[in-house]
């Protein structure tokens, strides 16, 4: 059977950062304690001229730099985000035009809280499997919003990753994928509202843990695998605490989780979070490595993937674009005042 999976990938993380202490000082909270509690010391912040479209374009261009495919062979582009720049008008057409993939193209913007990007990967996978397209481009990217003073302000970050899915020169085969979804109101943003609302502690057990656990377990049952069969596991990372607890629930070790856990350095990139984690793992992966990735989107659902890295990764030109850790290390700190201006917290006429 021909492998279907990841042909290339690329990330994009804005270089501005704000420290938890800086945020905490403004609101009279203990930054060190919060940073320790969430496991997030600092988060990435979009510059005034960066949004989900620019992050998506840069991630897609990085993916294209690492392979030799003709952008005209990309038959579908799906972009998952909860911060598409337009409510009506797709981000996908902007990306399609900016990478030279238009006009013979299926395009849609997806929205499913933080798992819309992995839903895009599944749809590209299905299109390739059905023989409808040669390559599909799936992107998860966000410039996450948080109301000033809300607990989310310590985690809501910006970044994304792009994955080209196909069946030629596959560097990481997607062996199985499985999704688990229920109606669970743990986090939402109503139409035309600027900031999301969340159910506080309710976002844990009945939401994140239930969905990630069931999706991962059922996927492993389908793939006939156990946690021991995997070299790496990547879970959605709204903070560093949740994925580490999830690892324990499922029986994964810290060593399997750590390489894909990028939230501590950049915050929660929402639709980008699990995909940036996967990109970080692919940055160091060797042929034969097996990866389990499970995303989580509030509302709620999880997409789980069983992935095997192929021999093709030895020939893959990873160094043609920056690695996730390169982007994490390239940073410039800003104050809360600059953060407020850049993230549109200030209003004036």
């Amino acid at each position: 059977m021909t492998d279907i999976g990841i042909v290339s990938y690329g990330g994009s993380i804005p270089r501005l950062r704000i420290k938890a202490e800086e945020l905490a000082d403004v609101w009279g909270k203990d930054g060190t304690r919060i940073a320790k509690g969430l496991g997030i010391a600092e988060k990435s912040v979009p510059s005034i001229d960066q949004d989900t479209a620019t992050i998506s374009v840069e991630a897609a261009r990085n993916a294209l730099k690492r392979c030799h495919i003709n952008p005209q062979d990309i038959g579908s582009i799906y972009i998952g985000s909860e911060s598409h720049p337009y409510a009506v008008k797709p981000t996908g057409t902007i990306v399609g035009e900016a990478i030279g993939a238009t006009p013979d193209l299926m395009v849609a913007d997806y929205e499913f809280a933080c798992k819309a990007g992995t839903a895009g990967v599944q749809n590209c996978f299905s299109n390739v499997k059905a023989g409808l397209i040669k390559y599909g481009l799936a992107i998860g990217a966000d410039t996450a919003q948080a109301a000033p003073g809300d607990a989310l302000e310590f985690s809501a970050a910006a970044g994304g990753a792009a994955f080209i899915i196909g069946n030629e020169k596959v560097i990481a085969a997607i062996n199985h994928t499985y999704s688990y979804a229920t109606d669970t109101p743990d986090f939402w943003r109503r139409a035309e509202q600027k900031y999301p609302r969340h159910g506080g502690r309710f976002t844990g057990e009945p939401a994140y843990f239930k969905h990630v656990t069931n999706a991962s377990k059922n996927l492993m049952e389908k793939a006939k695998t156990t946690p021991k069969d995997y070299d790496y596991a990547v879970f959605h990372q709204p903070n560093a605490k949740f994925p580490l607890k999830e690892a324990k629930i499922l029986g994964f070790t810290k060593e399997q989780i750590k390489p894909g856990l990028k939230v501590s350095y950049i915050g929660n990139t929402y639709s980008g979070a699990s995909l940036v984690g996967l990109a970080g793992v692919l940055d160091i992966a060797k042929p034969g490595d097996r990866i389990l990735m499970t995303s989580y989107g509030s509302g709620a659902g999880s997409d789980s993937f069983d992935i095997t890295v192929t021999d093709e990764i030895s020939k893959y030109e990873r160094d043609k674009a920056p690695l996730i850790d390169d982007m994490i290390n390239d940073k410039e700190y800003i104050s809360y005042g600059v953060y407020a201006k850049y993230t549109d917290l200030l209003y004036w006429e």
């Binding site: 270089r15 510059s47 005034i48 001229d49 960066q50 949004d51 479209a53 620019t54 374009v57 840069e58 261009r61 720049p85 337009y86 902007i94 035009e97 900016a98 030279g100 390239d330 410039e332 201006k341």
Partner: protein, 135 residues
């Protein structure tokens, strides 16, 4: 004031992908693309070939804008540079991801996709190229 959406749309290939053109007679490269080559004139008619520029170049000179136009007020102070592209053309663009005191003439830069401006909070968003230092 609403911007000219059709004009922006006509320039998308230039702004997103740095599509210029090359004179088939003397090989000079133009960006933005020209209808004909001002050196070869009639000789170049029908021979202007579309090309995609690499987006790589070098800062020839720069200035720091302290009093920006209305849509750019929030970004001041910001650098605007004249960049000589690898293929020859010189263009004007904003420099990003670089502290002002680290800017240098001769610095190698490459293009990045950024938001240029928008028609307020309800209008269209205009994307295009800016440049950042190459590490």
């Amino acid at each position: 004031m609403p911007k000219d959406v059709p004009r922006f749309w006509r320039e998308i290939q230039q702004r997103y992908n740095m599509k210029g053109n090359k004179c088939g007679s003397c090989d000079r490269v133009y960006f933005p693309p020209r209808e004909s080559c001002p050196y070869c004139r009639r000789e170049s008619m029908g021979k202007m070939e579309k090309i995609k520029l690499s987006g790589k170049g070098e800062i020839i000179t720069y200035t720091i804008i302290h009093v920006g136009p209305e849509e750019f007020e929030e970004q001041v102070p910001y650098p605007v540079a004249i960049i000589q592209l690898e293929e020859g053309p010189k263009i004007t663009a904003q420099i990003v991801d670089c502290k002002i005191d680290e800017l240098k003439i001769g610095m190698k830069v490459e293009s990045e996709f950024r938001k240029i401006q928008q028609d307020g909070s309800t209008g269209a968003i205009y994307y295009g190229y800016k440049f950042k230092p190459v590490e």
